[in-house]
């Protein structure tokens, strides 16, 4: 009888899965970049004096925090085309599933980042901004040159956590038929008639584990670099 656990499948799976690594990373990178932009807008809404802007941004964050990724993913995958079709008569049913995956994780990452950005801007003493404006910088310049570089230092550890979370929640993209690493893993298992699942998933777990450690180490390195700059000044 064939062995239930066969380590040769481990080594066969690696070259089959690795070509799909750029897809997983690409989706994560897109969601991170777009999510940062949206998160920045939300953070400024939370910091603004307008009550409605604060309420909208806070409500958005609460809703995102409370929705499981898989529910949000399906809600957008089925809901957005239905709304576009029903209200505007636009046919979105042929849009590639990658668009829905990126949308979902952008919305989720933006909510996380809005809190991180808000907290780190508040962590910069107000005098820094006032000093910038007092020497004749415009508010935009003062934010760009004085506040943001300092806020970045506070934001980095939480940003690393956020990126890791997007990378890992992205593993659910296979549920709407998107073929990334996890999607490919499921295809391999289907080709094996549902056997040797454990070996394939162990390989996947190892790849994700290495990626996470890589992100952690990169951010620790950046943080150290920024601290050196601070010490010299």
């Amino acid at each position: 009888m064939e062995k239930y656990f066969d380590s040769s499948y481990l080594f066969q799976a690696i070259p089959q899965l690795l070509p799909y690594l750029p897809i997983t990373l690409g989706i994560t990178a897109l969601a991170v970049v777009l999510g940062l932009l949206l998160g920045l807008v939300l953070a400024f809404m939370k910091l603004s004096k307008a009550k409605w802007a604060q309420q909208v941004a806070n409500g958005y964050t609460t809703i995102m925090r409370c929705t499981p990724s898989i529910v949000l993913l399906f809600l957008i995958y089925y809901g957005v085309p239905a709304i576009a079709d029903g209200l505007f008569g636009i046919n979105l049913h042929d849009v590639p599933s990658a668009v829905f995956v990126v949308t979902t994780f952008t919305l989720q990452f933006a909510a996380m980042m809005s809190e991180v950005i808000r907290a780190s801007i508040l962590a910069v003493p107000k005098g820094q901004y006032e000093a910038g404006v007092s020497v004749g910088l415009t508010p935009v310049q003062a934010y760009k040159r004085i506040v943001f570089p300092q806020a970045l230092r506070f934001a980095l550890p939480n940003m690393a956590n956020g990126i890791i979370s997007v990378l890992q929640e992205g593993a659910l993209a296979y549920t709407i038929g998107f073929i990334d690493m996890v999607g490919k893993a499921n295809l391999i298992i289907a080709n094996n008639y549902g056997t040797h699942t454990l070996e394939i998933f162990i390989v996947l777990a190892l790849i994700y584990w290495i990626l996470t450690i890589g992100i952690d180490k990169t951010f620790q390195w950046i943080e150290r670099r920024l601290h050196v700059g601070k010490g010299v000044a």
């Binding site: 409370c66 499981p68 029903g86 994700y208 996470t212």
Partner: protein, 231 residues
């Protein structure tokens, strides 16, 4: 939008709430003491054990929950079959037992990280003072350290609990009939996916808001020891 089905889906989604909450509560009951104990053991820095716990914590942080579920769900039956040697039918185990084990496995690591962070906020002198007046180790932790570290741990525990509830939505992978799976199955018949997922979304939102409210109230209670006029 099919309003009639939406109402039906809402009912089905709510019927999954007890199971979701049961898994959450049992997981917390297992993971809280285990996570606390892991941190205490890790602080002793016993050579091999220290590294093993470190690897375990890193693994949980490094892998997506769904992959953890897949790996454990496929390996636990192997382990049981190996130990029981055919005297026990591994396929007869109800998925809820897998859910308890798998989610506790992940949650214990998260609790351990939270406890470590919270213990760092308590001054070392507090423990020394407790020992100096003759308290035993369990007494010192229960009466002196735990009440103080709770204020730092509660906000993170709230996030972790909410994340745990969200993670149970992956129960479909182990055929656990919780909120998401029940409603999804009901939606399959008529392709009412938008209605079904909106219903699921509302139920999770309510659970999550209730949990946050409960933690907020607990935090206020815990903080009253911190003195001050406003508290």
């Amino acid at each position: 939008m099919d309003i009639a089905f939406f109402k039906q889906a809402l009912g089905i989604a709510f019927s999954g709430v007890p199971l979701t909450l049961l898994v959450t509560v049992v997981t917390l009951i297992i993971a809280l003491p285990v996570g606390f104990f892991l941190t205490l053991v890790r602080m002793k820095r016993i050579p091999v054990i220290h590294q093993l716990i470190g690897i375990y914590l890193s693994f949980i942080r490094g892998t997506p929950v769904i992959i953890q579920i897949f790996v454990l769900y496929n390996s636990i039956p192997l382990l049981i079959a190996g130990v029981a040697k055919g005297k026990f039918d591994v396929y007869a185990i109800h998925p809820i037992w897998y859910a308890f084990v798998i989610f506790s496995f992940g949650m214990a690591a998260i609790v351990a990280e939270i406890v470590r962070g919270a213990l760092q906020t308590v001054d070392k002198g507090q423990l020394e003072a407790a020992y100096s007046v003759g308290l035993t180790v369990p007494q010192a932790y229960r009466r002196i350290i735990l009440p103080q570290m709770l204020t730092a741990a509660l906000p993170n525990l709230c996030t972790a609990t909410v994340n745990l509830v969200k993670a149970t939505s992956l129960g479909y992978a182990i055929a656990l009939p919780e909120i998401t799976l029940r409603t999804k199955v009901a939606a399959n018949a008529g392709y009412h996916y938008v209605e079904a997922y909106t219903a699921i979304f509302i139920v999770y939102l309510l659970i999550c808001l209730l949990i946050e409210y409960a933690f907020h109230k607990t935090e206020q209670r815990v903080r009253r020891y911190q003195g001050g006029i406003a508290c």
